[in-house]
Symmetry: C2
Subunit: 459 residues, 2 copies
């Protein structure tokens, strides 16, 4: 008798066309979470997911309403109390498809061209949800799941998951697990599989500087009024020192330092200086000189100016001395920085540096902590070996610069790390026209997830 | 027999109601230069002015077409070659009246309420043109003009006088004179008559900083890219030192220093610290500490940020690392600074300070030199004594912070200084709804101009 893993892999290989067809069905639903006109499509996508979970024999399949779009849940507890439980996270919603005229085929008419499937959401992340479902199907059709599975597929990821923050703590028992599998992180390239074990946190602010009570004539007043646009620039300029370090008081106080072992591992990540120059088009990189680009993006906190606005910004010359200037300023955080503390640090900075010639306001817009999963945990090691089995090479371990608040929320409320992976590629055009999914990588991903479940179950 | 000056003044006093009625007729024409729909009204206003010059017996009355709105000219050469020639400058165009709903009476239905006449242009500057015409009428109806007069009344002042720059050098002989009277400058208050002998120049720029080839995800790239908004802020912040001095190399090299005598005279100007705080609403003033506010605005060059734009400026948080940042930056200049040199200074500053991590562009938008009239000239002294005769006090001598390019053009092309005065008040609401003209000041202004012509003619 063939062993269960081999049978499952064989089933997966034989059903690739069927998996592709099911994905095309899923990706054909325009479940655009940002657009209220697509509320019925959102509902249809949630029901489609619930239908798949039923078809896989899952229990307690439920569409949980929220204040926004519903959360779909289902569980397969048959592996028993001795086996680990994996919570598979995903989302069924997608970004708006605009600009429509740039699509070669309809965004919701998934179309294969060459090695790729094109359509909105095929990469981010209906294809990843499908890979998870296909891996589970391959196992349950040929034997028994070696782990317990819980599925949590939400419908608001593309609008910032506003209701998951409440749903997770309110359903702790329902979601209790040993590890989260989050296949919403991608790969750098088809031959560079990766596991993302770190995500940065975020603390996003708006700073407003007020000078005169209304815009003034720059001739009649210039020389007596501290121009709020100038004050704002002076404040922003003082937020970094000449080595690219953030000057907010205490900003680095809680930053966890990189070990030599972790730096060696991060050195395998191929996002080097040439990569960032090519990807950004800048003439030269910038940042803390003692860290590599991959370390600076993944393991070091940063402060960015996301927007500036003051005075006259149209064509030509208007000699106005502006009443007001505004900056959007965000910090990306690493463990163990606290967004609330960073708010206090920025407030103290402004109190210390803002001159008496202006008034100012500081508003906190968004915040969430960083997350870091244990690279040596059973789940991460199971995935690493799974990927090595399929790709023939160890994955690179990545600390991503972006923020995925749900990962921090799982850590906070469920006390579990997430294993962040996925089979989307950096050049898939997520959020852009002609979004694609690289099908050979998708099929490898299904295989890798089959290995993952067996690796984790055999621990 | 009464002396001619007394007769003229008596005529003026007896015809105040008639002058007011003529002004109401003039101000009833909606000669809005910015609005192509009012082209016929512009023509009507030009013809109205030409008609008044004819009525005063002027010669060579001509409506000169330009690429834009016409220039009205007329001359009274009867005082002869021995007498000085005064060129009276004015404009017959007005600002748009919007917002209409804020007007208590129609902007082009001039209405007297209390001591004021309300209507668009009554203060800026149809009332000032009318005061000049009334003074001349009062003299010519009772005797002979003691000076030769040339009138140059344009129709594009409110849109930046784009065609006068060409008209003046092309009509040097026609405009040749000993002094220009420009009654488009106003008074600080009804009991504070003033003569403006200095106006600042202007050099207005746009600085653009380019970083990545498109907006990037601030998480995925933050820490490796020199944010163009941050670079722009760093550049702008470096343009002033901690004492409020501009740091462009050589910026102060050609600045003419204030004499002790001039500083004493400027100390009489009542625009003190309390005035600027009240007028602007700022909690504290700013600027070069060794100069008074009036000196800083009138006699010192400044650099202002007129606008800032970069990245995301809407509501809420968008985690973008902007591709681009822009600042509108203008300098106000004093003699003998040269706008072209200031462009070079800003260029050198950017070459020296802009990092290699970005590209940048510098565009010059508008430029014109400062002007300074000799306070001790016959024309200025004639006006000063005229004002003293009417108000019973010496006028204050003001260096205005704003720029009136035509004054510099008269200096450049005709080689003559302008005597800048006028009988509009700071609170007249020029360019605003419910623009008004203070009639007692208007009538005093007519008297003062009669004195001015006689004072200058008796030199």
């Amino acid at each position: 008798m063939t062993d269960p893993r081999t049978s499952a892999l064989q089933y997966a290989h034989e059903h690739r066309q069927e998996f592709l067809n099911i994905l095309k069905e899923f990706a054909g639903i325009p479940s655009i979470s940002a657009d209220p006109a697509h509320k019925a499509d959102i509902q249809r996508a949630a029901e489609w997911v619930a239908g798949r979970l039923h078809a896989l024999g899952m229990k307690n399949v439920t569409i949980y309403p929220t204040a926004g779009h519903p959360v779909v849940y289902g569980t397969s507890p048959k592996a028993g109390l001795q086996a680990p439980t994996v919570l598979v996270y995903g989302h069924y919603d997608v970004q708006p498809p605009e600009p429509l005229e740039k699509w070669q085929s309809g965004p919701f008419e998934p179309t294969v061209r060459g090695e790729n499937l094109y359509g909105r959401g095929v990469s981010d992340m209906k294809g990843q949800v499908m890979a998870s479902l296909a891996a589970i199907e391959s196992i349950v059709r040929t034997g028994e799941l070696p782990v317990n599975i819980k599925m949590l597929i939400e419908g608001e990821e593309e609008v910032g998951s506003p209701n998951l923050e409440q749903f997770i703590p309110e359903h702790k028992d329902l979601l209790a697990c040993d590890a989260v599998l989050n296949p919403d992180a991608g790969m750098i390239a088809a031959d560079i599989p990766s596991v993302t074990y770190g995500l940065r946190g975020l603390a996003y602010f708006e700073v407003r500087v007020y000078g005169p009570s209304q815009d003034l004539h720059s001739g009649s007043f210039g020389g007596t009024i501290h121009n709020p646009a100038q004050v704002l620039c002076e404040l922003v300029a003082a937020m970094h020192d000449e080595n690219g370090r953030v000057t907010l008081p205490g900003f680095y106080g809680r930053v966890r330092q990189l070990s030599e072992e972790e730096r060696r591992e991060l050195a395998r990540v191929p996002t080097d200086e040439a990569f960032f120059k090519r990807a950004s088009g800048v003439p030269a990189l910038w940042g803390e000189p003692e860290y590599t680009p991959a370390e600076r993006v993944g393991a070091r906190p940063t402060l960015e100016i996301n927007g500036l606005l003051s005075g006259y910004t149209g064509a030509g010359a208007k000699t106005v001395l502006p009443a007001y200037a505004m900056a959007k300023i965000s910090t990306r955080l690493v463990p163990d920085q606290d967004p609330k503390e960073v708010y206090g640090q920025l407030k103290h900075f402004l109190e210390a540096h803002a001159p008496k010639t202006v008034r100012w306001e500081l508003q906190e817009l968004v915040g969430g902590p960083a997350s870091l999963s244990d690279r040596h945990s059973a789940a991460v090691q199971s995935l690493s070996r799974a990927i090595e089995s399929v790709w023939g090479k160890r994955p690179v371990f990545v600390r991503e610069g972006g923020s995925v608040p749900v990962v921090a929320q799982f850590q906070q409320h469920l006390g579990v790390d997430s294993v962040n992976t996925g089979f989307s590629l950096l050049d898939d055009g997520a959020h852009s026209p002609n979004e694609k999914l690289h099908l050979p990588t998708f099929y490898r991903g299904i295989d890798a997830l089959i290995h993952f479940f067996f690796n984790l179950g055999s621990k």
